[in-house]
C-alpha cells in the first residue's frame, strides 16, 4: 500500500431518509468529531418531510462550520409544486453556504445570481462538453452520475484536458452507500402501506434505511425511499482507491445510513490516509456491497472487497 500525500476530501452526502428530528440533530452533532471534511445538509428527496426547518438547517450548518467542516446546502431533486420551487429559490438566495444544485431549477437560480455552486449527481453530466456548459456558469465541483463508469470518467477528463476548457472542476464521487437510481411522482413507500401520497402518514419514518424490495426468489434488489428508488445493496468504491486517485478525483462521498456512520467515516479516513486496507471499510459496512457501474457492468454486480 502506498502512502498518499494528497488525501482526497471525505464528504458526507445529505441524509436521504426520513429520520425523526431528534435523531437528525443528534446525528450532526456527532459528525463534528469525525474526520469528515465536507457535510451536505438539507432535504433532497421529499418536500413533505420536515425534520428541520430551514432556519434549523442553518444552525446545524453553523455548528459544523465552527467545527471546521465545509458545509454545503443540498437542494430538492424533484421540484414540482410552486411551494417547492419557492423553497429552492430561497435556498439558492442565502449567502452563507455553498449550494449543491440537484435539479435545473436550482441551476437557474444559482447561475442567475452568478455564484459558485456544486452540481449534484442528478444533473446528468456525462461529457466534458456538458460539464463545460455549467463550469462556464459557475459550477466549481460536480458529482458524476452514479452510472458513469471509471472508463467514462477517464475519457471525460481526457476530453476536458484536450478541449481547452480551462481548469478542471473538483470531482466528487458518490463512493459509499445505497445509490439513488430513480425518482417518481408516485410515493412507493406510501403505496406499500396502501396509502395515497397526499395522506401518506409519513410512513417513511418507519424505515430509517429505506424499505427493502426483493425479487420473488428472495434476492435483495431495490430500496424504496418515498418517491426515490435506491439500489438494494450499498455501493463501495473504496477498494478502487488506487484507480480513483489516478483519475485525480478530489473527494469521496459517503451517503448516510442509520447507524455506523462515525465508524464508516473513521475507516474511510484511515484507508484514504493509507493507514488501513480497503477491506476495513467493507468490514465496517457489514453487508455485501456492489460496484458494477464502476466497471461498466450492471450496477448491481457484487463488488470486490
Amino acid at each position: 500500500m502506498n502512502t498518499p500525500t494528497n488525501r482526497p476530501r471525505l464528504a458526507l452526502g445529505p441524509v436521504q431518509y426520513y429520520w425523526p428530528r431528534e435523531d437528525v440533530l443528534d446525528f450532526y452533532e456527532r459528525m463534528a468529531a469525525t474526520p469528515v471534511d465536507t457535510v451536505y445538509l438539507g432535504e433532497t428527496v421529499c418536500s413533505k418531510r420536515r425534520a428541520l426547518r430551514p432556519a434549523e438547517w442553518v444552525e446545524v450548518g453553523r455548528a459544523l462550520a465552527r467545527a471546521g467542516k465545509e458545509v454545503v446546502m443540498s437542494s430538492l431533486t424533484l421540484v414540482e409544486a410552486g411551494s417547492e420551487l419557492g423553497a429552492v429559490r430561497r435556498l439558492c438566495e442565502q449567502q452563507e453556504f455553498l449550494v449543491e444544485a440537484n435539479d435545473y431549477s436550482a441551476v437557474a437560480f444559482l447561475t442567475e445570481r452568478g455564484v459558485p455552486f456544486v452540481g449534484g449527481p442528478a444533473l446528468n453530466l456525462y461529457s466534458a462538453e456538458s460539464l463545460a456548459v455549467l463550469v462556464r456558469r459557475g459550477l466549481m465541483r460536480w458529482v458524476p452520475p452514479v452510472e458513469l463508469p471509471a472508463e467514462g470518467l477517464r475519457r471525460l477528463l481526457d476530453d476536458w484536458q484536450a478541449g481547452d476548457y480551462g481548469p478542471v472542476p473538483d470531482t466528487e464521487l458518490f463512493a459509499l452507500g445505497r445509490m439513488p437510481l430513480a425518482w417518481s411522482a408516485r410515493c412507493f413507500t406510501a403505496c406499500a402501506h396502501g396509502r395515497p401520497k397526499d395522506d401518506c402518514g409519513f410512513v417513511c419514518m418507519e424505515y430509517p434505511d429505506g424499505c427493502g424490495l426483493e425479487t420473488q426468489d428472495g434476492e435483495p434488489f431495490l430500496t424504496l425511499n418515498g418517491i426515490q428508488t435506491q439500489s438494494g445493496r450499498p455501493l463501495n468504491l473504496l477498494p478502487q482507491l488506487d484507480d480513483i486517485r489516478a483519475l485525480g478525483v478530489g473527494g469521496l462521498r459517503v451517503s448516510p445510513v442509520a447507524n455506523r456512520v462515525p465508524e464508516l467515516l473513521e475507516e474511510c479516513d484511515r484507508v484514504l490516509r493509507g493507514a488501513a486496507p480497503a477491506r476495513a471499510v467493507a468490514a465496517a459496512l457489514d453487508e455485501p456491497a456492489c460496484d458494477g457501474y464502476w466497471h461498466g457492468a450492471p450496477g448491481l454486480r457484487p463488488g470486490s472487497v
Binding site: 421540484v79 435545473y104 466534458a128 417518481s184 424490495l213 457501474y293 450496477g299
Partner: protein
C-alpha cells in the same frame, strides 16, 4: 386561439407514412444509433431512409422533428454532434434534445435550427425551463409525465416557452431522464444507450409449471399457467415488499389524456405528443386518426367525441388494456 399541434411517433418509414397520412401535424424520428431514447434493434432511420421520410412528410406539409434525446457519452460525443449537423443539413423543423453539450453544440453551430427540450431533461418548473431557454434559445419543452394537471396549468400560466405534453402511450412511472433502473440490472439505460430493459438481456424460463421472466438475471415476474405474460420491463415486475408480492412500482397501464384535451387547449398547450416509436404502423395510423378527430373537434369548440368505438380501440392498443390519466390526476400519485 392558436392551433394545437399533433406530434406523432415514426420509428420506421411505414410508420412515418401512416402518421402523415392520418393527420399528424408533425412526426418525430430518430437515427439508427444510440442518440435517441428508442435505440431498439430494427427501429429508426439510416441516412437514406431519413431522406425519404423527410421528403414524404414535407410534400404533405407535415413537420419533422429529430429525437436526439439521450445524453452524449464521453469519448462518443461525435455521434451526437454528427446527428445535430445532419438535422441542420436536412433542414429539419426541430431537434428534440436534453443533453447540455448537444444543446450547446446546436445553438452555437446551427443558430437557425429550432430546439425543443426533450422530456428526458426532466424540466418540471418555470425556472428550469428558463435556464434552457436563456442558455440555448430553446423554443419548446416537452413536459415530464410526473406533473399533475394543475401543475401543468401553473407552468403554462408563466409560459416561459411553448409547451408540449404527452397525450397517449406507454407510461414511465419514473421521471424521464432520472431513472437508472435499467442500467442497474443490465448496464444499459435510457440516458446512456437509449434503451430500457433491453431485449438482449431478457430470459424466459419455466419452473414448476410457471413461466419466469428475467432481466439481466434478475427475476422480474412469475406467471401461473394460464396467466398472460408481459414484457419484463423492470418497473412493471412483481416484487416482494414486506409480506406482499405485487406490482410494487407500477401496474402495466398506458396514459390516455383524451378527456383532458379541452383543458389542455384552454391552457395554451402548443402540442400533444403521442408516444410509441417502437409500435407498429397500424398502431400509429389508428392512434393518429383518433387524436386528429378529437383535436379538430375541440378546436372547433365542440366536446371530445364520445365515439365508444374509438375509445375501445385506444384501450385495446394500450399496454395491459388499461388507460389512466397518470400523474395528471393527483389521486394516481
Amino acid at each position: 386561439m392558436p392551433a394545437m399541434e399533433l406530434v406523432c411517433p415514426a420509428g420506421s418509414l411505414p410508420a412515418l407514412r401512416a402518421a402523415v397520412d392520418h393527420g399528424a401535424d408533425a412526426v418525430y424520428v430518430g437515427f439508427r444509433n444510440q442518440t435517441n431514447a428508442r435505440g431498439f434493434p430494427g427501429l429508426n432511420f439510416d441516412d437514406k431512409g431519413m431522406g425519404r421520410g423527410v421528403e414524404y412528410a414535407r410534400r404533405r406539409g407535415t413537420r419533422v422533428f429529430l429525437a436526439l434525446n439521450t445524453f452524449a457519452q464521453a469519448g462518443r460525443g461525435r455521434m451526437w454532434r454528427d446527428a445535430v449537423d445532419a438535422a441542420a443539413d436536412l433542414g429539419l423543423d426541430a431537434v428534440i434534445a436534453a443533453d447540455l453539450g448537444v444543446l450547446d453544440h446546436a445553438s452555437r453551430h446551427h443558430p437557425d435550427l429550432p430546439l425543443h427540450l426533450s422530456v428526458q431533461a426532466s424540466a418540471t418548473t418555470p425556472a428550469a425551463l428558463r435556464f434552457y431557454r436563456d442558455a440555448f434559445g430553446v423554443r419548446r419543452a416537452v413536459l415530464p409525465r410526473v406533473l399533475a394537471m394543475r401543475q401543468v396549468e401553473a407552468l403554462a400560466a408563466e409560459r416561459p416557452l411553448e409547451l408540449e405534453v404527452f397525450g397517449f402511450g406507454s407510461l414511465c412511472i419514473m421521471v424521464e431522464g432520472r431513472c437508472l433502473l435499467s442500467s442497474y440490472a443490465t448496464g444499459e439505460s435510457p440516458n446512456t444507450h437509449g434503451v430500457c430493459s433491453p431485449a438482449a438481456h431478457v430470459r424466459w424460463s419455466e419452473r414448476a409449471g410457471r413461466r419466469e421472466s428475467r432481466l439481466g438475471g434478475v427475476l422480474i415476474d412469475r406467471y401461473a399457467p394460464e396467466e398472460p405474460a408481459g414484457y419484463p420491463t423492470l418497473c412493471k415486475g412483481r416484487f416482494r415488499v414486506g409480506d406482499d408480492v405485487y406490482h410494487a412500482l407500477e401496474e402495466p397501464t398506458s396514459l390516455n389524456t383524451l378527456d383532458l384535451l379541452p383543458r389542455l387547449l384552454a391552457t395554451g398547450i402548443a402540442a400533444i405528443k403521442i408516444e410509441g416509436r417502437q409500435r407498429s404502423p397500424a398502431y400509429v395510423a389508428q392512434v393518429t386518426a383518433i387524436w386528429r378527430r378529437a383535436i379538430d373537434a375541440v378546436q372547433r369548440g365542440a366536446t371530445v367525441p364520445e365515439d365508444p368505438e374509438a375509445r375501445a380501440q385506444l384501450s385495446r392498443l394500450s399496454e395491459g388494456s388499461q388507460t389512466t390519466l397518470g400523474a395528471y390526476d393527483r389521486r394516481w400519485q
